[in-house]
């Protein structure tokens, strides 16, 4: 597997970013929704700390991913009706935007509640402003609903990928699969 993308394949680095971010953001989203299952306050503190650290990791990976995308380029788009190409581009743009906005909204939520922000017990990051109790519930709602919006967009993204793979039998999903082999007749 080549590290760089070419005209037909996504490169190893682009694939790694895609799948690692996908696993981290979905896993961390589900984890975030489970916070109230903690059996005691200290466990919740530790769970939240882990959730925040994973979220910051997603944010850092997304910034690196965007920085890598320009020099790396991308495989050429496969032939499809205009509306499908437009839908795919919009979906991808939304996914990039949400993968950045969800961690940032969590950072903002953490800031207005006045909590420390520590990355895996290694170092602390500053707040994105001042503590503001009036924004506590609103910022939490933004953080959570952005995740539900991501889930909704993902239904389209995953549905489209499966549609291409199963019904069209083309390379749209294959070229992003970790060890996917392209079909040469497509």
């Amino acid at each position: 597997m080549k590290l760089r993308s070419d005209d037909r394949h996504w490169g190893g680095i682009a694939k790694s970013f895609h799948w690692i971010v996908a696993l981290a953001i979905l896993g961390n989203g589900v984890f975030g929704l489970c916070m109230d299952l903690a059996s005691n306050p200290m466990q919740k503190i530790n769970w939240l700390a882990l959730h925040k650290s994973i979220g910051l990791t997603v944010l850092a990976l997304m910034l690196l991913r965007l920085a890598w995308r320009w020099p790396d380029g991308r495989p050429r788009e496969l032939p499809a009706p205009r509306w499908q190409q437009w839908a795919a581009r919009t979906t991808h743009a939304l996914l990039y935007l949400l993968a950045l906005a969800i961690p940032v909204s969590g950072w903002w939520f953490n800031t207005v509640t006045g909590k420390p922000l520590q990355f895996f017990k290694l170092f602390n990051l500053p707040g994105l402003g001042a503590k503001n109790d009036a924004l506590r519930h609103f910022s939490h709602a933004v953080h959570e609903y952005l995740f539900w919006f991501l889930v909704l967009v993902l239904v389209g993204h995953v549905g489209a990928a499966l549609k291409h793979h199963v019904f069209d039998g083309d390379n749209v999903l294959r070229r992003m699969l970790p060890f996917g082999k392209l079909r040469n007749d497509k």
Binding site: N46, Q118, K121, N124
Partner: protein, 185 residues
């Protein structure tokens, strides 16, 4: 002969008197504060006690006669964070129902390189341990200020034990600082 005896006794008494002079008693003025600085998830946070009483008897030249006696109402603890404010009075931290007050009493004062250190015993959450505090005293006439600083190991006193004992989340050391505005009685 009797006169000489009386004279000698008088002289001895005069020599002994400065040593017997008491340190000045002070009343603590409302501008005084008693606070602490802890560490949570790598960030320091400040807290204070709103109700406490200190009996201060102090004279830098009469350290042997000086004394601090401080009683703190643990339920008056105040911090900025809502969750911490909820947790600190509880059983796992100060357990204010069981231990409504903390008490520090000095046992002696030392001069360490020109700085005064107050040694004493702190009783907190039912545990009594020796504690030493750095003393910075300034006086002008009847007015004085007294700044006291020390550091405690919270787990020595069982503050935040059990689930909260993890010092990688809640720091082991807690700094204590008091700023007293004093008026001589």
């Amino acid at each position: 002969m009797k006169k000489i005896h009386t004279l000698c006794a008088g002289l001895l008494l005069a020599l002994a008197l400065p040593g017997a002079t008491l340190a000045t008693d002070y009343t603590v003025q409302p501008a005084s504060t008693l606070g602490f600085t802890g560490n949570f998830q790598g960030a320091s946070f400040d807290g204070s006690f709103k109700q406490w009483h200190a009996a201060i008897s102090y004279d830098p030249a009469q350290l042997a006669q000086s004394k601090f006696d401080v009683t703190v109402a643990t339920a008056s603890v105040a911090v900025n964070d809502k969750d911490q404010q909820g947790a600190l009075p509880g059983k796992d931290f100060f357990d204010v129902e069981q231990y409504p007050s903390a008490h520090f009493v000095s046992t002696g004062f030392r001069n360490v390189g020109g700085k005064v250190v107050a040694d004493g015993r702190l009783t907190l959450r039912g545990v009594t341990k020796p504690v030493s505090l750095a003393v910075d005293f300034k006086s002008q006439g009847k007015n004085a200020t007294l700044d006291v600083d020390g550091s405690l190991k919270r787990l020595d006193f069982g503050v935040g034990g059990g689930d909260y004992a993890d010092t990688s989340v809640i720091g082991a050391d807690v700094k204590v600082h008091a700023h007293l505005v004093l008026l001589a009685k």
